[in-house]
């Protein structure tokens, strides 16, 4: 095996001395308890390509990292030699407000991009927690979406171009900078959600949208998840100006409290009418327009899950969501955050026996035709499970894609579906 000192020397020659160093104990680059042999921080696409060529030649396994907020997603890496940090590649390359598109580098944080676009009254509709830290590249690699998906689309809908450095160090581009484009295979779709296993995302181009002129929230306390789901379906059927509908529930064996948060965005007339209809449809519920004190403990967001001992993301049909919640809530009373319109929910347990709870959670998922992915659990548990569950029907094709893109197995090896 090549010595660590040699690796550092060689990497320094590519990125400059101060940008290649041994990982310290700060945990910043630790993935599932594994510490890399070296951290490398390239400052340009060419340097990323140089690092990947080197990794390929030496057979060193690299994990690309942005803000590191989603390191907990994925299977245990089978090997981890290099932490490839994108945080020094963080510029906005091109933003022509009148074209409603923006091109930026992978290392820019979601919050920084947002701040720069809001100056022009625009935004990319990212919907993630930890936006200060989370990088655009990391959000793409992990395919992180939120409850605004029905209103504004998912990453796959508003990402129109991706520049990716391949495992063998080629700087390649997929898609383009125009909003409509069918030239060649749409590899952007392939890279979104590939979790660093096919290449290193270094740049992306997005459709941007105007910041809503008016945005308000209505919080509704409801007795049952079924009532919340039915209400949400009716709001969508009416085509109200919804930008976000999310149901949160927490409780214990004696009872749960449910809170439906609806955010409304659009013109003044549309928001006002929508708000009236939301409140009108939920008589007896407690509506709280945004701006009033909603810091109640009943309300929580994705950040709340940082200290979960087991966090799972399930995706079921919206029509089965209420029944699914009913079943999963009886399993050790977890905290639940659900999107009624998409049928996606995140369920978080604390201080439980992870293996037992997970097994039962997966049984519940299977009986409700839901997919189940473990988003967070201790590395010890990861040793015994595939966090993505049983391989999907098209696993043979996925394996063959991985082999074509990463024949040497150096790109986040082991982390993906079926331990690809």
């Amino acid at each position: 095996m090549i010595a660590q000192a040699t690796i550092l020397d060689d990497l320094s020659a590519i990125v400059g001395g101060e940008h290649a160093y041994p990982a310290d104990e700060s945990q910043r680059f630790v993935v599932d308890g594994m510490t890399p042999r070296a951290v490398v921080e390239p400052g340009s696409y060419e340097e990323v390509a140089g690092v990947m060529r080197y990794a390929s030649e030496q057979g060193l396994a690299a994990i690309p990292l942005g803000g590191g907020t989603k390191r907990h997603i994925g299977n245990l890496p089978s090997r981890y030699d290099l932490a490839l940090s994108l945080s020094h590649i963080h510029q906005i390359i091109e933003h022509e407000p009148a074209d409603l598109t923006v091109t930026c580098q992978a290392g820019i944080s979601v919050a920084e991009l947002d701040r720069r676009l809001r100056v022009h009254g625009q935004r990319v509709p990212f919907d993630v927690s930890h936006g200060q830290q989370a990088s655009v590249g990391g959000v793409l690699a992990a395919n992180t979406n939120g409850p605004s998906r029905p209103a504004y689309g998912a990453l796959r809908d508003f990402t129109i171009g991706i520049r990716m450095v391949t495992g063998d160090g080629r700087i390649t581009r997929a898609g383009g900078k125009v909003v409509k484009n069918v030239a060649g295979f749409d590899l952007c779709k392939l890279y979104i959600g590939s979790l660093g296993t096919l290449g290193v995302i270094v740049e992306a181009t997005f459709k941007v949208m105007p910041v809503a002129r008016l945005e308000r929230s209505v919080l509704l306390s409801l007795d049952t998840p079924g009532g919340a789901c039915a209400l949400s379906a009716e709001l969508h059927r009416r085509g109200l100006a919804l930008s976000h509908v999310q149901l949160s529930g927490r409780g214990d064996a004696t009872g749960y409290s449910w809170l439906l948060e609806t955010r409304l965005a659009g013109s003044e007339g549309a928001v006002e009418r929508s708000e009236n209809e939301v409140v009108g449809l939920a008589p007896g519920s407690h509506a709280q327009p945004a701006g009033s004190d909603v810091s109640s403990t009943d309300r929580f967001s994705g950040e709340h899950f940082d200290d979960s001992s087991l966090l799972c993301r399930f995706s079921t049909l919206p029509s089965r969501l209420a029944a699914f919640i009913g079943a999963v809530q009886r399993l050790e009373s977890p905290d639940i955050l659900a999107e009624p319109a998409t049928g996606i929910l995140r369920v978080s347990w604390h201080e439980i026996d992870g293996a037992t709870v997970l097994e039962r959670a997966r049984q519940i998922a299977a009986s409700h035709s839901a997919t189940a992915v473990v988003e967070r659990c201790p590395p010890e548990l990861k040793q015994h499970i595939d966090v993505f569950g049983d391989p999907p029907p098209a696993f043979q094709l996925m394996r063959s894609v991985k082999q074509q893109f990463d024949p040497k197995g150096i790109l986040s090896p082991g982390r993906f579906v079926g331990r690809l």
């Binding site: 022509e96 009148a98 074209d99 409603l100 998906r149 809908d157 391949t166 390649t172 581009r173 997929a174 383009g176 900078k177 125009v178 909003v179 409509k180 484009n181 069918v182 030239a183 060649g184 295979f185 749409d186 590899l187 952007c188 779709k189 392939l190 979104i192 959600g193 096919l198 105007p210 969508h236 059927r237 009416r238 109200l240 100006a241 659009g266 013109s267 007339g269 009418r273 929508s274 995706s315 079921t316 049909l317 919206p318 029509s319 049928g343 996606i344 035709s369 839901a370 997919t371 992915v373 993505f388 999907p392 029907p393 043979q396 094709l397 996925m398 063959s400 894609v401 074509q404 579906v417």
Partner: protein, 482 residues
């Protein structure tokens, strides 16, 4: 005798009745909406995925290529058979298998006609959003292959944004599902790469589509301008103000001249351009957007604005746009439909460039296109029978594509690459970019069997076809769409 054994094998698997091989039967399948031709060895019409898989395996055993075909309305040659190959026609696979209004999804077979999905879901207040102009004729399988667009893609996105899952037959004849009915499915988004792969990766045998609620209110505006430049400025201004209407279409003077005698839309004879703008949503939103659009049009000196609220009025405003291509067919024996995309801010300058190039080449051009997303469709009128005209019109097309690429755009927005534009792929993609795309093709094991020679240049393509530059030159008549 290789040929007869291929036919025999196909007949054994699919049934004699559904295997065509007589020359007069094959002729019907040798073309699509382009002028290209390719005579297949056999045409099969299987009824299900197993039949498709058998046909793929048999073709593979005989070493002949396979081309999937839906309704044959494509504008880049995606359904043109490879000489000597097998065509798998999906028209018998035309069932809507599942309709789930509660979850707003439908599972359909590839031969289902685009518009039939919306017709079947209308009683539930739902519809399927992508609306290529050929939607009364084109099949959803073809839409998936080409990632078809349409006027309303400006707001709602193209086919890829509305497909959740696909059942496909792979090159080795395996039937497998990609994606699924739920919003998230673990693994690589293979659905996303098969959509738009122009029949080169797999054959689609089932499609899960997402349905949308019909908007509460829709307002259509038609604004008439003296010049194309004025109309282009209105487009830039609407987009620049952050408004994304449902549709934003432009027609120029030549198009209006062609349309007026047939549609009687009441376009003034000296007008230079017309914009068709549709906004929708809650009635409060639609009204506010319509007012904002109208005021931009007035500010930029629209000479007339017509507004349609009822379905009947709106249909009347759309009539000219929908009849445009058919009408153009009457002006010249042939026309060449181009499809390019530019950043929306470049609309005025690139359109000037298009007119200048057409003048220089001596061709008349009519522009009727999706202005809101910068998707140009110059229709160049010419006479195929004139010696050298086809070559000249192709040279002009190449120059216009150059204008789009130089402006930072793309060589196709919705028609696909096919044969016609594969030589332009290198203008927007580097050899490394193309090499990475070929990895995907290799992963699907599809390098030689499905639609060889299309999208990417190859030495092992459809023999004679691959050696020539081909053009999407639409047939004259009302059956042409854009």
């Amino acid at each position: 005798m290789k040929r007869s054994s291929l036919i025999r094998d196909l007949q054994g698997a699919i049934g004699r009745r559904w295997v065509l091989h007589a020359p007069e039967d094959l002729l019907v399948y040798e073309y699509d909406a382009t002028i290209d031709r390719g005579l297949p060895e056999a045409v099969v019409l299987p009824d299900d995925a197993e039949g498709v898989a058998s046909a793929v395996c048999i073709a593979s055993n005989h070493g002949v290529p396979v081309t999937a075909r839906g309704a044959g309305t494509g504008l880049s040659g995606g359904a043109i058979p490879c000489e000597g190959g097998v065509v798998i026609v999906t028209t018998r696979m035309n069932r809507i298998l599942e309709l789930d209004p509660e979850n707003r999804i439908a599972v359909v077979e590839p031969g289902v006609i685009n518009l039939d999905i919306s017709r079947s879901t209308a009683p539930y207040g739902l519809y399927y959003a992508p609306d290529p102009s050929s939607q009364k004729a084109c099949s959803i399988g073809g839409n998936v292959a080409e990632n078809a667009g349409g006027p309303h893609c400006l707001r709602y996105g193209t086919t890829t944004n509305h497909v959740l899952g696909l059942e496909i037959v792979t090159a080795d004849g395996v039937v497998v599902w990609l994606g699924g009915k739920t919003a998230d499915t673990p693994g690589y988004d293979l659905t996303g790469v098969v959509v738009g792969s122009e029949g080169t990766l797999a054959i689609v045998t089932k499609v899960i589509v997402r349905l949308l609620h019909k908007p509460e209110a829709t307002v259509t505006l038609l604004a008439i301008f003296d010049t194309v430049t004025q109309a282009s400025r209105v487009v830039s201004s609407i987009i620049g103000k952050g408004m994304v209407p449902a549709a934003l279409e432009m027609m120029d003077k030549n198009t209006m001249d062609a349309v007026e005698p047939f549609v009687h839309a009441g376009y003034p004879p000296d007008a230079g351009a017309v914009l068709l703008i549709e906004v929708e949503g809650l009635k409060e939103d639609a009204q506010e957007q319509a007012d904002a659009v109208a005021s931009i049009c007035r500010e930029l000196e629209a000479r007339e604005i017509r507004i349609g609220l009822s379905q009947e009025d709106r249909d009347r405003l759309w009539a000219g746009r929908k009849g445009a291509l058919g009408a153009l067919g009457r002006l010249a024996p042939s026309y060449y439909i181009l499809d390019g995309v530019i950043p929306r801010t470049r609309l005025p300058t690139v359109l000037d460039g298009v007119y200048e190039a057409c003048d220089r080449f001596g061709f008349r051009v009519a522009n009727v296109f999706h202005a809101g997303d910068g998707n140009l469709h110059p229709n160049v009128m010419f006479d195929e029978r004139v010696q050298g005209a086809t070559k000249k019109v192709l040279d002009l097309g190449e120059e216009i594509m150059r204008l789009c690429v130089d402006a930072g755009g793309s060589i196709t927005g919705e028609h696909g690459v096919g044969y016609e534009k594969r030589n332009y792929m290198s203008w927007i993609f580097s050899p490394d970019d193309l090499e990475v795309m070929s990895r995907l093709k290799a992963a699907f094991g599809a390098s030689e069997i499905f639609n060889p020679g299309k999208v990417f240049p190859t030495s092992k393509g459809c023999g004679e076809v691959s050696s020539r530059m081909r053009a999407a030159i639409a047939r004259v008549g009302a059956d042409a769409f854009v």
